[in-house]
Symmetry: C2
Subunit: 199 residues, 2 copies
């Protein structure tokens, strides 16, 4: 019982296949696209095609880039002795926003997750070991998310890095700045106590 | 301070320009598209372009169609003496789903809204009058939304239709089937009382 034209149905299906977008939202988005001026709609269509075509993974750190090697890896202002391991390209953005870190990154694009059939080979662990085997690297900072899978991945990688005689560190746990003790969960408070520093 | 490749930023911008999609969601969607197989991503891109190219408004009722005249207007099974006026193509879908109505439609693509500079000329009122002037039409059902602008639009159109000696009706107001009196608002209850029918 379809009353929309086939091409409109296809567009709705496309939107509905995106994560977090239900059928009704997909309809709303598809109708919005139809209501756009031709030029804007085609720019959207083109943005998808060209992003898909141009964006690839940096040969060194696997972050998204439109060059062979990303701007961070090819910069001569970055400290090449430290590699920060993150699970997602967006985490690079978050860390860069903090303006505290000046080393390189390694983007896993995922975490080890036996439930989802994701093993070490699927997330570029091998590439990290190759980089770690180089002379320059002195420290690897594990910055995967502080959840079960992120922790397990960090632990797994840190063990593989042991033989390289490299310092392996983990982001500090604790209470978020600006938050309230009242709302901190037990696990976070425990870690915050464990990791307390002298004033 | 952009750390994503330009084409990825453009894709994020495109998603963020959609209604109800914020910057973070747009990033999530853009990353999802990048993670799709080439074929699926290009199918999405193509769906936008071809929907925009193929979908147009039916010459008779202004509903979306990929033909000159939509499947409802060109069907010989529909009662051509009744026109149901709705503000949005999705309303046609809702009414068709009820399987109660067998007449034709007229899609306004909006409602009269002085605040948003939308006047009668912008929503195809003239086209409706042309259709009403035909011999066949005996009844026009106003099925705009029961909000202020929908009401005003229905009232405005019904006045224009007066001279044509056509029956103009409005969808009934009342308590939604399956709902609870407790949750019905005052205005709805008032209308439900006014419109009560004999058992």
């Amino acid at each position: 019982m379809t009353y929309f034209p086939a091409s409109l149905e296809r567009l709705i299906d496309s939107f509905a296949s995106l994560p977090g977008i239900g059928r009704k939202s997909a309809q709303r988005l598809a109708f919005h696209v139809l209501s756009l001026p031709d030029q804007e709609a085609l720019a959207f269509s083109d943005a998808i095609a060209s992003a898909k075509k141009e964006v690839r993974r940096c040969k060194v750190c696997r972050n998204y880039t439109d060059h062979e090697i990303c701007s961070i890896c090819s910069s001569d202002r970055r400290d090449r002795s430290v590699i920060c391991v993150v699970s997602d390209p967006r985490d690079v953005l978050s860390l860069e926003r903090a303006r505290e870190y000046n080393g390189l990154y390694h983007v896993l694009h995922g975490v080890i997750s036996p439930m989802n059939h994701i093993g070490p080979d699927d997330i570029g662990v091998k590439e990290l070991l190759v980089r770690a085997a180089g002379d320059e690297v002195q420290e690897v900072i594990m910055a995967t998310n502080p959840d079960t899978e992120g922790e397990a991945t960090a632990l797994y990688i840190s063990r593989l890095l042991k033989p390289f005689n490299i310092k392996v560190t983990r982001l500090a746990y604790g209470i978020p700045v600006g938050s309230n003790l009242e709302f901190a969960d037990d696990a976070t408070l425990m870690r915050a106590l464990e990791g307390r520093t002298e004033l």
